[in-house]
């Protein structure tokens, strides 16, 4: 692997010397709002040469001296043909006009039409906000994460659970980044809504496999969320009023074509609506969530552009007791074009996730409690793209992240007697460098190969706790504590992460793709509950906890049908995980200094088949995804040391999403989801201790049975109130029903003593949403 990389890299440096070539480059943007068109295509027909714009809309194409017709195109936009006399390197910035939106004509997918087959990437799914808004959603709120969960290979343990699982990976194994900055908790109200405001989101890319070298730090996926830049042509607003949220987004030029802004906010008002119905002691309840997204960008000149973006979201809940949590991120990005071949994006970000909880009851002034916990990180991340020639695109760069973990800062008073307690802060640094080349060989083969080298070190000031070995599954005893000074290395790990992808084009409409990637992860979410909670702790790798590793191989067949009307793919994958965390029985993960003593480490494996058919054009459009997969762990001390299915393992998952544009006024959408029940552990026996009837599994097995299957149908109808575009004020009404046939989908089955007759034991099926949920919302745009 390393040899191939080296040889290819050496070869490509010689290949571009011979002919007299020049490079044309520039950015491709939308003429209507100035947004970059990510993935727009640039094609020279005479030479059958082409390229696509990168995530910043930048392209670079090298041509021999001569005059050519260059076609710029993007789905949903008019093609533009430009005659260019190539006698020197030149910058050509292009603006494409949107096509008039006829019924059922085209769906904007943010892609070139044959990208499914032609691009090197596999195991990748993209959605833009228009698509996300078409999918019927809970309480009518279009949701990024819920939409992602419909894609093949993605699952969740159930409604209300935070995050998502990708190809057998835990929810902490997804790197969720918003304009480059990581978002540690992407959920509002536990997992019912995600923190991303669809009005501010430009597009979303989920990478499940063949992960390029520029990404690292998580094992299973990258969810790259990019915000709109803000309309640089004219002032624009959009928003909506729904059952649970109200939304407003404003954007416009600060200086036409030079600088623009975007500001978008949402707030829930469940608390305001609920107020008249609350009992006296809950009258003062605070219960809401909000988020605010803002961005400005400034085009300094043709070669330099600055972006500043920020996100702030918070959930607040309380009535005497209070509990709130939220993320704040800010990113500063600088795009610099050194020349027609070398492009730089430099990002620096700050990200903070914190939660607070406590008690503060006005009638009890002598007793209160207040606790907060934080993870702060700062990072700098240069990414270079070097368009070496038309056959080779090099990417290289690195990232450095500094973490501060503040596990607990608590103060409390009992009977007027106060104290404060602080668990020691932890510090860590994560560094990575990478080099990658994307190479075309002939007309059929595209390769992408690279390596990422990552390093993680937990730094002082701090302590390392060491534990004695014991029988696996039993709490380890503390052996000794070693203390470290400021910036002294407590534990350090280094991992080479090779990455490789290939696209072999079978013909114009089909291709075979394969990929291998190794990923390393140095942060661990400590969560022992079925659904993760906002107060779960992130722990850095330390002297006891080893970095998580995964090796993944994926192979796929991709084919487009009927002139790219249908995109289809079939992929199989296999993943081998190392150093996966599990917990001893009845582990104590809350406010525990010796948490490491309750953790177990083991191996994991996941494999599966993913089928996907997407119809991208026509009055009826949508997709069908099917996943057949298995996700298992093997941990000494659990399940008699044998393989067991993870709590989020689902054998079959079928999702159908369809939209029908009936008339200019009416459109309809539906989605249907069906999946196998998740595994759980049922007891075999019971016994009594101190009046409690305790369930017991004498086989010592874990996840030995499955709860019943999950299925649900959601529908929505959209009435366009401005079908003929006669008014500037564009608006629509969306009527939706979630869980149309009111199925009580089981989230879990648990066992308890009957409330009235304590001797009787019973099995209880818990459904998070046990009924249908209708909603109406009004959206506008001006």
């Amino acid at each position: 692997m390393k040899h191939i990389t080296f040889i290819s890299l050496s070869l490509l440096f010689f290949s571009s010397i011979a002919q007299q070539n020049f490079t044309i480059s520039g950015t491709i943007k939308s003429a209507s709002n100035g947004e970059e068109l990510i993935g727009a295509s640039v094609y020279c027909k005479a030479l059958s040469l082409g390229t696509t714009a990168n995530v910043y809309g930048f392209y670079s194409l090298t041509l021999p001296k001569g005059t050519y017709e260059i076609t710029y195109s993007f789905i949903g936009f008019e093609d533009q043909v430009k005659t260019i006399n190539v006698t020197s390197n030149g910058q050509y910035n292009i603006e494409l006009a949107e096509t008039a939106n006829e019924i059922g004509e085209v769906i904007v997918t943010g892609e070139r039409s044959d990208a499914n087959v032609k691009e090197i990437e596999m195991s990748v799914a993209k959605m833009d906000s228009k698509q996300i808004k078409k999918i019927p959603a809970l309480l009518g709120e279009a949701d990024v994460i819920k939409s992602i969960q419909l894609l093949p290979g993605v699952s969740t343990v159930g409604e209300g659970s935070t995050g998502f699982n990708v190809r057998g990976g835990g929810i902490d194994q997804n790197l969720v980044i918003l304009d480059e900055a990581p978002v540690f908790n992407s959920s509002h109200l536990l997992g019912f809504f995600s923190v991303f405001n669809p009005d501010a989101v430009k597009n979303v890319t989920l990478i499940k496999g063949g992960i390029p070298s520029e990404y690292g730090g998580r094992l299973s996926s990258i969810l790259d969320v990019r915000m709109n830049e803000g309309n640089s042509k004219e002032f624009e607003g959009s928003g909506g009023v729904g059952v649970i949220f109200s939304r407003l987004a404003l954007q416009g030029p600060i200086k036409k074509d030079k600088a623009s802004f975007l500001i978008a906010g949402r707030r829930s008002y469940a608390d305001i609506l609920a107020k008249p119905f609350l009992r006296d002691d809950l009258k003062d309840s605070k219960f809401y969530f909000y988020d605010l997204t803002a961005k400005v960008n400034y085009q300094i000149n043709d070669k330099n552009r600055l972006f500043l973006s920020g996100f702030f979201g918070r959930d607040v809940f309380g009535s005497g007791f209070f509990f709130d949590w939220g993320n704040a991120t800010s990113t500063l990005r600088w795009n610099h074009i050194f020349n027609e071949k070398l492009f730089l994006n430099l990002s620096a970000y700050y990200s903070n996730y914190d939660y607070k909880l406590g008690v503060n009851i006005p009638e009890e002034p002598l007793d209160n409690f207040d606790w907060n916990s934080k993870i702060i990180n700062y990072s700098i991340k240069p990414d270079f793209t070097y368009f070496l020639n038309n056959n080779n695109t090099l990417k290289f760069g690195g990232q450095s992240i500094y973490y501060i973990f503040k596990p607990a800062d608590a103060s409390f008073t009992t009977g007027g007697d106060g104290s404060s307690v602080t668990l020691p802060e932890k510090y860590a640094v994560e560094n990575a460098v990478y080099l990658q080349n994307e190479q075309k060989i002939g007309s059929r083969i595209t390769l992408q190969y690279g390596i990422r080298l990552s390093n993680f070190a937990q730094l002082g000031k701090g302590e390392a706790r060491y534990y004695r070995d014991t029988v696996p599954g039993v709490r380890k005893e503390l052996d000794r504590i070693e203390n470290y000074d400021d910036n002294e290395v407590i534990a350090s790990y280094i991992n080479p992460e090779p990455r490789f992808s290939i696209n072999y084009s079978l013909d114009e409409v089909s291709s075979l793709k394969g990929s291998y990637n190794r990923m390393a992860q140095y942060l661990h979410l400590i969560s022992n509950t079925v659904a993760s909670t906002p107060v779960d702790i992130w722990l850095p790798t330390n002297n006891n906890l080893k970095p998580q590793l995964v090796d993944q191989v994926a192979i796929g067949y991709f084919r487009n049908l009927q002139k790219n009307t249908y995109e289809t793919s079939a992929e199989v994958f296999y993943k081998d995980f190392q150093n996966q965390i599990d917990y001893i029985d009845n582990a104590n993960i809350f406010f525990n200094q010796d948490l490491d003593a309750d953790l177990l480490s083991g191996d994991g494996r996941a494999y599966g088949l993913e089928l996907y058919v997407k119809k991208v054009k026509g009055q009826l459009n949508g997709f069908v995804s099917y996943t057949l997969s298995r996700s298992e762990r093997k941990v000494d001390g659990i399940n008699k040391n044998e393989w067991y299915a993870t709590r989020f393992d689902k054998t079959h998952i079928l999702n159908v999403v369809a939209s029908y544009d009936w008339t200019k006024k009416w459109s309809f959408s539906a989605n249907f989801v069906l999946s196998s029940g998740t595994p759980t552990t049922f007891p075999t026996s019971r016994y009594e201790v101190q009046g409690a009837v305790v369930p017991h599994n004498s086989e010592e097995s874990r996840n030995n049975v499955r709860i019943p299957a999950y299925h649900r149908l959601d529908v929505s109808a959209t009435l366009n109130l401005n079908p003929d575009k006669t008014k500037k004020w564009d608006s629509e009404l969306v009527f939706s029903v979630y869980n149309l046939y009111a199925r009580k989908n089981p989230f879990s089955i648990y066992f308890q003593q009957n409330e009235d007759d304590r001797r009787v034991t019973e099995a209880i099926q818990y459904s998070v949403i046990g009924t249908l949920v209708p909603a109406i919302s009004y959206n506008f745009n001006f």
Partner: protein, 292 residues
């Protein structure tokens, strides 16, 4: 404690969530021994119950273990014999008024012989602070206008300079508050989590929530008896785990897991064959009647 907040948060969602009793078929498992051995330092009959596991949905009385030999020995060699009674109970009775198992700080060993199998467990008798007072306060902002009454609060202070765990039992007119099998346990030193705070007044939630029924107030002439038991750290862990495993529903359920106590077989293997736990407690009690 952590989950109290989450439970509150979920209240708001409870309108759409639902819980139904369902019929489930379960496999049968190997039958294991169980000892329910919670003793106190009071001069009253002390009971140890020996039973076996049964099928999970078997609602009859647990099968008794007959013919076992049960003793408790103090570290000074004092022997307490437990004689077999009905339904798996083994009983020690005071030999004279005031006779009790009561040497503070002493380690007691439970010995159980069943046929040719021999099990042991140890427990230290820890001290318990007195309950200083119980107060009733009329709630002038009731949850429900038809249900008025008093809220109770008790006061006790943690014993300083040691790590203590307590079990609070409350009886309203003789009925256990929260029902049998529900445990009100304190975190270390009646404070919060693993926080190193020692020798203070019990924290507010313990003083109030452990002795009031969720939906009912105390009324004039109601009697409240609060009992405070000292327990060992490992007993705390055991009862906490039992509590989790018997109330393991909702979004934040933890993986169902077996609970093992401190009883080991004589070869000192990890506890797998005999479930349950052995603990000896000091007790303090206080009774109060609601008066206008």
């Amino acid at each position: 404690m952590k989950y109290t907040y989450l439970t509150l948060l979920l209240l708001s969602l409870s309108l759409i969530a639902c819980e139904d009793v369902v019929d489930i078929e379960l496999q049968n498992g190997e039958t294991l021994y169980v000892a329910d051995a919670f003793l106190t330092n009071e001069s009253t009959e002390q009971l140890i119950r020996l039973t076996t596991t049964a099928s999970y949905f078997d609602n009859s009385a647990p099968p008794a273990i007959k013919g076992a030999t049960v003793t408790v020995t103090g570290s000074d060699g004092t022997l307490y014999n437990f004689t077999e009674s009905l339904n798996g109970y083994y009983v020690w009775s005071p030999a004279f008024p005031g006779d009790k198992i009561d040497s503070l700080g002493e380690t007691y060993t439970l010995n159980i012989t069943i046929g040719n199998e021999f099990f042991q467990a140890t427990s230290v008798l820890n001290p318990v602070p007195p309950i200083d007072s119980i107060a009733f306060e009329f709630d002038d902002d009731p949850k429900d206008e038809d249900d008025e009454g008093y809220t109770a609060e008790f006061f006790a202070t943690d014993i300083p300079n040691r790590a203590d765990y307590y079990w609070i039992k409350a009886y309203k007119n003789g009925q256990r508050v929260g029902g049998e099998g529900n445990f009100s346990l304190t975190d270390k030193d009646a404070a919060f989590g693993d926080v190193d705070i020692d020798g203070r007044l019990f924290i507010f939630p313990l003083r109030v929530f452990t002795i009031n029924e969720d939906d009912y107030y105390y009324q004039i002439n109601d009697t409240l008896r609060v009992e405070l038991y000292s327990i060992n750290a490992e007993t705390h862990e055991f009862l906490e785990a039992v509590s989790v495993q018997t109330n393991n529903g909702g979004l934040f359920a933890t993986p169902p897991a077996n609970v093992y106590g401190n009883i080991r077989d004589a070869n000192n293997q990890p506890q797998k064959k005999m479930l349950g736990a052995f603990n000896i407690s000091s007790v303090s009690k206080k009774t109060a009647i609601v008066t206008p």
